[in-house]
Every structure is written in C-alpha cells, then in structure tokens.
Symmetry: C2
C-alpha cells in the first residue's frame, strides 16, 4: 500500500470497488429475505422487504469502507493479511451500514425531516407506510447487534476468547456512538434546531450537532474495524483521532455539496437544507473558508494516522476520497 497520489488514485478506486462488492454481497446475506423459508424464526415478509428496500439501495457504503480500511491498516502493521482483516471485520462493517440505514429511515419520517426522496427513490415510509418504516428501522438497528454479537462465529487465526473480547468491545463502541449521547442525540438537536421558535445554531453548536449525528458513527465505524482487526491501544487512539477529523470533514463537504452540487449526482435537491432553515457550514463561514476547513481536517487526519505509521494505507485514501467526492 502507498500514499494515494496521482499514480495511486486507481489503486484506491480498485480497493474501494472490491470492498464495496464484498459489502454488498454480505449485506445481501445478512438481511432477511422475504422469499426464505417461512419458518417461525424468519422476519415477516413485509418488514424484510422494507429492510431490503432501504439497505440495498446503493449508497457510498462509507461506514463499511472505514471499518474495513481500519481493520486492514492495523492488521497489516501487526503482520496480518487483508483477507484476515476482512474476515474479522466484514460483519461489523455490515452492521454499521444496518445502523446507518435505520437512522436514514427514521430521519426521513414525517415526524422528523419529512423527506419523500432518498438516493433518487421514494423513501421507505412513502412506499411501505409509516408504521412499517418505523418497524423496519427498529429491526435494522436491533439486527445489527445480533450481527455484531454472532459474526464471525469463529476465526482460524484468533482464539475464541480473544474473538469474544473484540466482538463485545465492538458492541459497546457502536451502541454508545448510536445511542442517546451519540447519533440519536444529534438527530434530537437537529430536530430542535429547525423548530420555528429555535435560536439559530452558532458554529460550536453546529459542530456538536454534526459530531453526534454523523461524526459519532463515522468514528465508531473506524474504531470497530480497528478493534476487530486486533488494534493495540495506541493504534485505537490514532484511528480515533483520524476518524474525528474525517467525520468533521464529511459534514463540511456535505454542506458544500448542498450549495454547489448537481441534483443528479447528490440524489437530492441542492439548496434544500439551506431553504429548510438548517444551519450549514457555508452559511456560517462562507464557501471558501468551509473548503479550507475541510482540507485542514484532512491534514490532521493524516497526521493522526502518521503517528502510528498508518498514513500509508487505504484508510487514509478513504479520508481523501471523502473530501474530494462530488456526491
């Protein structure tokens, strides 16, 4: 692996494509299928269908890529192969996408952001009704924890007790990031911020809202991958600092794309957030400063990984890809 640059952009693209492919195949395996044997232990078809509709709708698969990138980066430094890291971290990578998808399904509900389109398709509650959309979200969240606790059941290279320790630590990291103090807390702050009587958010409040709403799960994805890959405490610390910066950059770029983006590419109406009165980085700091802020985040992310000799990895490439993305 090398530092992504002119010559290595295609290496990164190939890596992302290959890992995305593995994630898509694994998501398909892990999500309930309506056509499966109608045994008592299966999900009812309509909720399985709603889960699949939202989960298998494409998307960047950013959180799984971060998990796999982190697992591979730390495993390589510890002398293991990418295959070893994949085997250990792929279920957690998928569980994180389950949780991300649940958060989108619930955020889109009429009582929340009331969005009717997502990734160029009608949202789950439009297609399946509100009740089933709430339940499909609940199921994705809950089943994510089944996946984290159960898979992989065994590993050829890691002792059973060590594997249990890693899985339990992953459950703790992910649950904390997704819960009341993390992602749910962030969505709460977002909901309060757009109320007609709400005071406008300043820069610090905007940052806090986003750090919870999207940053917490981005950090948890990276840390979950690192834990499953067998990270040392020092590697965990470096990956956590990297992911904090990537989480910040992700949101800043999201806001920039809301101003500059093309509808066909971002899959939603540009300017929608600003029109809805949602505070954005460009609105608060201007477009140029926002772009510089994102670049600064990336530099700090590289510094964090460099401290543990992890900057020369696809994990760093993902960070770069995030701030250069067009959608």
């Amino acid at each position: 692996m090398t530092v992504p640059g002119e010559a290595d952009a295609s290496t990164l693209v190939r890596w992302i494509e290959s890992r995305r492919h593995a994630v898509e195949a694994a998501l398909e395996r892990y999500v309930p299928a309506p056509g499966m044997a109608p045994a008592e232990r299966r999900a009812p078809p309509i909720v399985a269908e709603a889960m699949r509709y939202s989960l298998l709708a494409g998307g960047k698969r950013l959180r799984p890529l971060l998990a796999l990138g982190a697992a591979e980066a730390v495993a390589e430094r510890l002398g293991h192969t990418p295959e070893h890291a994949m085997e250990l971290a792929l279920p957690a990578a998928c569980a994180l996408e389950f949780i991300h998808t649940y958060s989108l399904v619930h955020d889109d509900l009429p009582a929340m952001d009331n969005d009717t389109m997502r990734r160029g398709r009608p949202t789950a509650h439009v297609v399946f009704g509100e009740g089933i959309a709430i339940l499909a979200g609940d199921a994705l969240l809950t089943d994510a924890f089944s996946l984290l606790a159960r898979e992989p059941a065994l590993s050829a290279d890691v002792a059973a007790e060590e594997l249990s320790r890693r899985k339990l630590e992953t459950v703790a990291i992910v649950a904390e990031a997704a819960g009341a103090a993390g992602m749910v807390g962030g969505q709460t702050l977002d909901l309060l911020a757009v109320r007609p009587d709400a005071a406008p958010l300043d820069g610090a409040a905007l940052r806090e809202m986003h750090m919870r709403k999207t940053g917490a799960l981005i950090i948890a994805s990276s840390l979950a991958g690192a834990v499953m890959g067998g990270a040392t405490a020092e590697q965990m610390e470096a990956v956590g600092r990297y992911a904090l910066q990537v989480g910040l950059a992700f949101q800043i770029v999201d806001d920039i794309l809301d101003v500059e983006g093309v509808e066909a590419e971002i899959g939603k109406t540009p300017g929608k957030d600003a029109a809805a009165g949602k505070p954005t980085y460009p609105a608060l700091f201007g477009l140029d400063t926002s772009k510089r802020m994102a670049a600064d985040c990336l530099a700090r992310a590289r510094e964090a990984l460099g401290s543990m000799n992890l900057a020369d990895s696809h994990l760093m490439g993902i960070g770069q890809w995030i701030i250069e993305r067009r959608n």
Copy 2:
C-alpha cells in the same frame, strides 16, 4: 427457597418487592438524567426526559424479575448466593426493561396502535411529540445494548474472560429476540392483523403473533438472567422451556383481563382490544377454555423447571404470579 403456596405467598411478595426496588434504583442510575453535567457525551435534555418519562413510569418490571429470578435460581444450584446473581444480572435486567419500554413507546405511536394513554398517563408522543417519542424509543433500544456490553464491568467471582463470554451471549440472545424475527416481527404481524382488509387470525396465527410480540422478549429475559448467572447448557434448556410457557400464559391472561379487568387496575380501558378488532384468546376459545389454557401453561412451566431441580425457586413463583395477576 420453597414452592410458593399458602404459607409462601408472602415470601414471594417480599422477594418481588425487594428485587423491584433494586431494579428501580438501577434504572434510575442507568437512564440519562437531564440535570447531569451538560458535557458533550450526555443525551440532550429533552430526549433524556422522554426516556425517563416512559422508563420510570412504574409497571410490573416483569422482564427484570424474570432475569433476576432465573439468575438466582441457576446460581443457587451452582452454589452461589442471590447477591452474586444480582450483581451479575441486574444490568441485563434493566437493559430488558429499556427494550420493553422502547417497544411500548413505538407501539403507542399514531402510525402504530395510536394509544394516547399508558399506565394511567398520556403516552410519550402525546407529551413530547412524535419525533421525540421515536427518538426516545431508538435511544432506549440502543442504550440497552451499551448497558449489556459494559455492565458489570468486573466481577469479584467471575474471571474477566468468562464475564465477557456471558455478556456477549446475552447481547446475542436479546438482539435476536427483539429483532425482525422476534418482537419487531410480532408487532408487524399485529399491525397487519388490524388492517381493514386483513383476514382474521386463527388460533395458530394468534399464537405466533404473540410469541413474537411478547413471548420472545419474555424468553430472552429468562435466558439472559440464566446466562449471566452462569447457567449450564441443561439449565438453559430448562429455563427456555419454562419461559416459553410463561410467555404464552402471560398473553392469554392479558387477553382475559381485557375482558374481565377493571380499568383502574389494568390502567387502560377494558374491552379496548376486542373493540379494535384485535383477535384475543377469549374471543377465539371462550373465557373458560382460555383460563384452562393459562393453567396448563403454568403446569408445563413447572415441569420444565422441575427437570433441572429449579422448580423450587422464585422463578417458578413469578410464573404463578403472572397467571394470578389482576393487572
């Protein structure tokens, strides 16, 4: 411990009161408090308040009692004290109440059962609005998994690796019971059953719906307590068979109380389920047969526990209390 009978009813009542007291105190510790330090890692006050409103509203605490009863029963047979079992199983007992509460909050939503009263008080969405109610439910569910993964952090009597194994197994059992194939699946079947165009449920379909909607979590509560108490595979099997019968009896009795109950005692309008066109056991089988079915379940539950010499326990007393309850 003795078989509950004339002389021992008060022993059981004292046990239930003492364990409920411990559960209430622990729930209060584990749920976020709005008044706590406003650090970045705390839940926003409004979501904390909504979580507390629903979680600390009283209730029978049946699931925590089953968890603690199972932990104590198996621990005693393995030569441990009730205190040992409590220390190990109390966090899981509380996590199960978090999950039960989340399911009530979401089930009460306008898009689901549209209930405005619960336990004699307005439901969460009436008090806090739909958006915050959805988020409070999401937070209770997610934070339950934090609790299962993190607590107890240590035990004086159980090695760290064994404790991790038990906690991870508990996460897996609870997540599977609460997810798409379990509780969420049951609520889905319930939602479909009351649609105007739905075919009426027959006895088998009614049983399947309830086994998922309430039975799965009742079984998981008993098994979670047993795992945390250090159960052997044979004890797990016996506790699982016991809990299956208790889950069935619970729902049959619930339906009977909907016919016979007094509003002040059951905290909701009697006859509401029947009026809403929800299938019930008395409607399908008549009141007398329904009562006999509940008694048969209890007999089978006793037989299951008896097979592992566990019938002489408060766990069995809880089963009896469930079918004799008036609310």
